[in-house]
Amino acid sequence: MALLEVQNVSYSYEKNKPVLKNVSFRVEEGEHVAVIGHNGSGKSTLAKLLNALLIPASGTVTVDGFSSADKKSLFEIRKRVGLVFQNPDNQLVASIVEDDVAFGPENIGVKREEIKERIDFALSAVGMQDFLKASPMRLSGGQKQRIAIAGVLALKPKILVLDESTAMLDPAGRAEIAEVVKTLKKDGVTVISVTHYMDEAMTADRIFVLSKGEIIKTGSPKEVFSDRETLKAAELCVPLATSIADKLKENGVDVRGDVFTAEDLGAALCV
């Protein structure tokens, strides 16, 4: 059984306006999945369904064997699926880094000595161990978001869901988060990143393309970004390097092979 199973899930906030329609997929342990889709396609709704902030109207979400339809497994699911949102300012509950990271473990009744261990573990995982006593208000956007991630990691989740967690960050902040995701993947954490940045999606093992509440394509980054029809239907663009390669081809430059990343582009041009 896969770590995360979503079966025929539909959801609507208002009657007769389904936001998600019959969505199904599985995510295996240790996978990195990116979810892309234009604004309003239902990405955030999907993210909230994954950790039982929302309960499907029909269909089931199963995490590690716990179904979100079962009220008793609510906290088992939330412990296993950590959800990080877009705006770091609206996720931090405390004015001191360590107090904020402690919030999750406190909520699930972890003992004091172990909370200390978890804080150290979570802050080192995001490279913020030197900011234990700092005030998040004085940190950069990227650093704040790393604290928000640490706050979720302190619950020791198996799955980390990032709902456009880089959308409000500058390029430096985005790079910081990308680095954190890389480390977490190495440590075996399953990562689901919802993103607007195609270059970010390129780093995933698989991409789900969401359009108008339906998953219209699943595949490796190469498969997805080669399928221009689907991207067009989902109103999405291709990674920067790919669009540069397209422009070069249009203008008669000989670009061989598929180009998805800066490295691809360099290789294609320098041969």
């Binding site: 909230k48 950790n51 902030l53 906290f75 939330r78 412990k79 950590g82 959800l83 949102f85 705006n87 300012d89 609206n90 996720q91 931090l92 509950v93 405390a94 004015s95 001191i96 360590e98 107090d99 402690a102 919030f103 999750g104 473990p105 406190e106 909520n107 699930i108 009744g109 972890v110 003992k111 004091r112 909370i115 200390k116 804080i119 006593k133 700092a134 005030s135 208000m137 004085r138 928000a148 706050g151 979720v152 619950l155």
Partner: protein, 273 residues
């Protein structure tokens, strides 16, 4: 970030920072009592209270300008109360023939300024040296007896610490909205008080809307981190009284005794004169 001195924690390692939040809260309340015990016309008592503030600020390693700045937020209020005292006090002898400003009016104004300044600087020292979480934990602990009559003490403390946490964020946001409205030609500086208040409406409404959005997102983020009220919740920070707190209690007891003594001393002096 605009400098918001009042209500923001000033990180430092000091004797006062290391004191128990509960002790600091009780001492602050005792300090306010001391300030209010000082009798009118009696500025020696204020000098004692001011000495206490200076002593605390030095022990807490808070730069002095920070403490002074905390008054800035309510400077308008202080000046207003002083001016009202001066203008409308009818007691005492006029300073000049037929004048409306009296000696007692001036003394009372000075008295009010001293009182408010001392209370605010004293209270700001509490928030400078105590993180909002410690503060909330301290209040929760002090109010624990009220749980017996089913008052939501934990929720109250949490609301308070979150409110404190969001003050700088919301001040930042207010700043941004004011700039945005100015860029669209809004005028906040001219006209009478009513015009100016009206000019604030386009600031307050976006602020209100964004606060609701923030509250919504924060609630989701708290749920996502398994928040479920005070049931089965543990606390990371341990509260423990230490010798520091005992010293604090002794000092504040000394201050109150001093103020009471000075009040009596003044009466003797006045009778003597």
């Amino acid at each position: 970030m605009r400098d918001v001195s009042f209500g923001s924690y000033y990180p430092a390692k000091s004797f006062v920072h290391n004191m128990d939040a509960r002790a600091k809260i009780l001492i602050s309340i005792a300090f306010i009592v001391a300030v209010f015990l000082v009798r009118s016309f009696h500025f020696l008592g204020f000098a004692a209270c001011a000495f206490f503030v200076v002593l605390s600020a030095v022990t807490a390693r808070i730069p002095f300008f920070k403490v002074i700045k905390s008054i800035r937020t309510i400077l308008f209020f202080i000046v207003l109360s002083a001016v009202l005292q001066v203008l409308f006090n009818k007691n005492g002898t006029p300073l000049w023939e037929g004048g409306f400003i009296t000696d007692i009016g001036l003394i009372n104004a000075g008295f009010i300024v001293a009182r408010i300044t001392l209370v605010v600087t004293g209270a700001s020292l509490l928030t400078f040296t105590t993180t909002p979480v410690e503060l909330a934990d301290g209040i929760e602990s002090l109010l624990t007896p009220l749980k017996l009559i089913k008052l939501p003490v934990h929720e109250f403390a949490l609301i308070m610490s979150i409110a404190l946490r969001f003050i700088p964020t919301l001040i930042d946001e207010t700043d941004r909205i004011i700039k945005a409205q100015k860029a669209r030609g809004a005028d906040f500086e001219s006209g009478n008080i009513f015009k100016r208040l009206k000019a604030l409406i386009p600031v307050l409404i976006p602020l209100l809307i964004s606060s609701f959005r923030r509250a919504d997102e924060l609630a989701d983020a708290m749920d996502a981190r398994c928040y479920a009220g005070s049931k089965n919740r543990t606390k990371y920070k341990k509260m423990k009284l230490s010798y520091r707190d005992i010293i604090g209690f002794i000092v504040i007891a000394g201050l109150i005794t001093g103020v009471v003594f000075l009040n009596k001393f003044y009466i003797v002096l006045a009778v003597g004169v």
